[in-house]
């Protein structure tokens, strides 16, 4: 770790806090690589590669046509330049677009058939053995667990747990490649209906080359009996990951979905361009939580994932509700704006975000709340923390259309700066096209507040505890929105970055 220059230290932020922040990339705990025999498609991107991906996934003709249409659109598009990001030129021909663990070419029949290295990977990811067995298809294990897991390793889904139990409730939770085979009518109907192929450059790329991802269907009136979770892992070198997630919540249904992601430490940058589409129908409720912990690069900005993600939920019918919660700590570059289209009357969208950028990380993230229906409501709470040489931008849109009468939005964006070499930026767009809607936006930027520190210290806390409490309080509003299963992981992550030095 770099030695700390005294001048970087400010009153109120003690040395250890700053050091911990600076060393965050150094302590990236998911930075190992699993040496697993992989099956790669040749490097580069062209129609043949797309045909190959489609063939590997055993896809029907319509799916291939859809991909090719997206690819042709992508060729005519330009990479977006409006984000406050310094994105180096990406050579799209110098990437692998398909990689699959060899042992997964044929589905494993029992734990013994699974590559032991893959099991090691799960262990390191913190997925317990029981679950590993479930992932490998061994029945009868882990009945008391409440989270169904789909693990996506490089380009393919390696297994989904609790399929049977979910099926009993009518819930479909499988990889998107399986869904294309087994539920083509649903995929056909909804794929691209929230994020069209030509929505943006990275969505078009994803539409052309996505290799796997998760598919969730919750039938009408069903409250999903357990939380659903997907772990994404980029493992192979020079491999882009392009997963596609599609969630459909029928009338009156309810689901909570968790997403986590990690990648090995590498000197070269890797590309991740995902698309998540959520369709929420009448009275349905979807909660989508992410802990994004892709490898952020080292303390000199070498390596790290380029994370370009399009996430959007469409509240198509009355009283639909969607809630995005994200903890963004990883990636060298993050370009991500989980959005809500509030089309149904009385529908609701919420966005809670913690974005931590350290060292040379760049994050440009936020949300869009598009109010189309009457009496729709949205709430945005964003907490950005910048340290090192990082740049952290909140970018958001709140749009009240003429017909969205009596709608409400409340937005709060707070930024915290640690050190004078980083940046914290706020770029909200507010578009109000009717009078009966009320929009309120507030943003603040500050350092760890001296008054709060003084207050804590005068009550007998030492400085470290005080800083921990203040920073913890800064994020709490968002942390408390995370589901239990993720709260622990998220808090640990925030702890590594900011509170680790304390206590």
């Amino acid at each position: 770790m770099e030695a700390l220059d005294e001048s970087q230290l400010r009153e109120g932020v003690d040395r250890e806090t700053v050091e911990t922040v600076q060393s965050m990339a150094g302590t990236y705990k998911h930075g190992w690589e699993t040496e697993i025999e992989m099956e790669f498609a040749p490097k580069g991107l062209n129609e043949d590669i797309i045909r190959l991906i489609s063939e590997k996934n055993n896809e029907p003709e319509w799916m291939l046509d859809w991909r090719l249409a997206a690819y042709r659109r992508w060729l005519t598009m330009e990479s977006p330049d409006w984000a406050m990001l310094n994105i180096p030129m990406i050579d799209y021909q110098d990437q692998y677009y398909y990689a699959k663990p060899k042992s997964m070419v044929d589905k494993p029949k029992s734990l013994d058939d699974v590559d032991p290295k893959l099991l090691e990977t799960y262990a390191k990811l913190g997925i317990p053995l029981k679950e590993q067995a479930i992932l490998a298809g061994v029945e009868g294990a882990g009945e008391e667990r409440k989270v169904a897991v789909d693990a996506v390793f490089d380009s393919v889904s390696v297994g989904t747990t609790f399929r049977k139990e979910l099926e009993a409730a009518g819930v479909i939770f499988c990889s998107i490649s399986e869904a294309v085979q087994e539920h083509p009518e649903l995929v056909k109907k909804y794929l691209g209906s929230v994020v069209p192929q030509n929505d943006n450059y990275f969505a078009a790329l994803n539409s052309a080359v996505f290799s796997d991802g998760s598919f969730v269907y919750i039938p009408a009136g069903v409250k999903c009996p357990m939380e659903l979770s997907t772990y994404f892992r980029i493992n192979a070198e020079n491999t882009g990951q392009f997963e596609r997630t599609l969630i459909i919540a029928e009338k009156g249904s309810h689901v909570s979905y968790l997403e986590g992601c990690t990648a090995p430490k590498r000197d070269t940058h890797q590309l991740h361009a995902a698309v998540v589409e959520i369709v929420v129908l009448e009275d349905a409720e979807v909660k989508y939580s992410t802990v994004q912990n892709w490898y952020p690069g080292d303390e000199n900005g070498k390596g790290g994932i380029y994370n370009f993600v399009t996430k959007r939920a469409d509240c198509r019918e009355a009283r639909a509700k969607v809630m995005w919660t994200q903890v963004e700590t990883g990636s060298a570059i993050t370009w991500k704006y989980p959005s809500c289209i509030l089309r149904g009357d009385d529908s609701q969208g919420e966005f809670y975000s913690i974005a931590i950028a350290n060292n040379w990380q760049q994050a440009d993230t936020g949300t869009k709340m598009v109010h189309l229906g009457k009496n729709t409501r949205s709430r945005i709470v964003s907490k950005g923390i910048s340290a090192g040489h990082a740049q952290n931008t909140y970018r958001g849109l709140v749009s009240m259309h003429p017909k969205a009468r009596d709608s409400r939005n409340y937005t709060q964006c707070d930024s915290l700066l640690i050190g004078d070499k980083c940046g914290a930026h706020t770029v909200p767009y507010i578009e109000v096209r009717n009078a009966s809607s009320r929009v309120e936006h507030e943003a603040t930027t500050s350092k760890v507040d001296d008054d709060q520190l003084f207050y804590c210290r005068s009550r007998g806390m030492d400085e470290e505890e005080a800083v921990a409490l203040v920073v913890n309080g800064f994020c709490k509003e968002v942390l408390q929105e995370l589901p239990m299963e993720f709260a622990m992981e998220a808090q640990a992550l925030v702890a590594i970055s900011l509170e680790g030095s304390v206590g």
């Binding site: 004078d420 767009y429 096209r433 809607s437």
Partner: protein, 432 residues
């Protein structure tokens, strides 16, 4: 969507077409040099288009098209001038051309006033170091080609240099007599160390206008700028206020606007010296086919400076209000206090408010915040007033005035503020 390179070329082609057959105004050495440089900038940038992020909410076409859309003259006496009771040095422009006969003698102790047309003929003038320099500075990070157009082609304007504390305000009064005139004025205001001045602007200017005011404030200088853009439904105009502040200098700028088909007021401020202060504020009453855009960019480039942006808009009958405000805090600008509020009151369903309030911050020990709200009149407040016997119209007027008053509080001189409050009330009562 058109590729970016092609769009950029189209914008440059549009400039070439616009300038085709026009030649730069004749002038002395400094003016010619500055105009040529500005024209080169303009040709390089091209004309603005709606697809430019910076023009996202305001269509610049009416400001860039070759012919000026004629605008009906407002009946005389319909909008009485403000500041009449204030003892001031009046400098009158008719359709953008300085009219010495209608103006006061430009004599004020400690203040040197020269029309641009006169100074530009000379080879040596203090304006040499200022004319076009702040406009050029303003081109990064956001391009402002219309300001370059002004620097290169404006022949009218006032060059005001202040060495002491001016005893009276200087008033720039714009009269409009021609239905289709286009005005391009370029003012320079330089306040030497410790100097003080109040500058007033009032009047409809022209059917289409493009104004630049470059302000250079020396150490400890104080400039108060109060402007009204009154009732003149069909005018279209863009104004640019570019100001750089040395240590402890203070700038207060306030604009009261009503109507006008299209108004874009840009302000770019650089706080270059420690302990400077810049307060930019505005109140707008928009009615009918009205589009008003306040675009403000405040650069904190030195420690301990203070900036405030306060903008209030009342909109009805389809009026559109735009606010784009940005606070940029440089790494060296520790202990910055930056504040920004933009609020709009929408009086009926057709009004629109579009805002982009931005913060870009590179220093950690700062206090910066912004707020933006939009909504209709608070029903509970209305109920409260009506319960006390006020008719609905009066109750609404009172609430609207109270809402706008917060912006008026940004004006340093209470006499000026009162004048504007009366003006605003008169506008509101006319309903259209």
């Amino acid at each position: 969507m058109m590729p970016r390179a092609k769009l950029a070329q189209q914008k440059r082609d549009a400039v070439s077409a616009l300038l085709d057959g026009r030649s730069l105004p004749a002038g002395g050495a400094w003016a010619t040099k500055a105009r040529k440089a500005a024209e080169a900038r303009l040709r390089d940038m091209g004309l603005p288009v709606r697809r430019d992020e910076y023009w996202r909410y305001t269509d610049p076409r009416r400001l860039t098209e070759a012919t000026v859309q004629p605008g009906q003259l407002h009946p005389q006496g319909d909008d009485a001038p403000v500041f009449d009771a204030i003892d001031r040095v009046k400098l009158v422009f008719v359709d953008g051309v300085f009219d010495p006969a209608a103006s006061d003698a430009p004599e004020l102790a400690g203040v040197e006033i020269t029309p641009l047309a006169e100074a530009a003929r000379t080879d040596l003038h203090w304006a040499r170091d200022l004319y076009g320099t702040l406009e050029a500075r303003s081109q990064n990070p956001v391009q402002r080609p219309l300001a370059s157009l002004n620097t290169s082609y404006a022949t009218e304007g006032m060059l005001i240099r202040v060495t002491g504390v001016a005893a009276r305000p200087v008033a720039l009064i714009y009269q409009r007599k021609n239905e289709a005139a286009e005005a391009m004025t370029h003012h320079l205001i330089r306040l030497e160390q410790g100097a003080e001045l109040t500058i007033l602007e009032d009047g409809p200017v022209a059917a289409r206008y493009n104004q630049v005011m470059e302000v250079d404030l020396g150490e400890g200088a104080v400039l108060n700028h109060v402007r009204t853009q009154g009732r003149d439904h069909e005018r279209a105009g863009v104004t640019h206020l570019f100001a750089q502040l040395d240590a402890q200098a203070q700038l207060k700028s306030f604009t009261l606007s009503a109507n006008g088909a299209l108004t874009r007021n840009e302000a770019v401020i650089w706080l270059d010296g420690a302990d400077g202060a810049a307060h930019i504020a505005g109140a707008t009453v928009g009615d009918g086919a009205f589009h008003h855009d306040d675009t403000v960019f405040i650069n904190h480039a030195a420690p301990r400076c203070d900036s405030r942006q306060v903008f209030k808009k009342v909109l009805r009958h389809g009026a559109v209000g735009v606010f784009q405000g940005k606070i940029l805090v440089d790494q060296v600008a520790q202990l910055t206090d930056g504040y920004q509020i933009s609020q709009s009151l929408l009086l009926d369903e057709n009004a629109q408010f579009l805002a982009k309030p931005e913060l870009e911050i590179y220093a950690d020990d700062v206090k910066c915040s912004h707020g933006s709200t939009s909504g209709e009149i608070d029903q509970s407040q209305l109920f409260y007033l009506r319960a006390r016997g006020l008719p609905e119209d009066q109750a609404k007027l009172l609430l609207v005035l109270a809402f706008l008053s917060e912006a008026l509080e940004e004006i340093a001189d209470p006499a000026l503020a009162d004048d504007l409050r009366d003006k605003m009330e008169a506008w509101l009562k006319r309903r259209g």
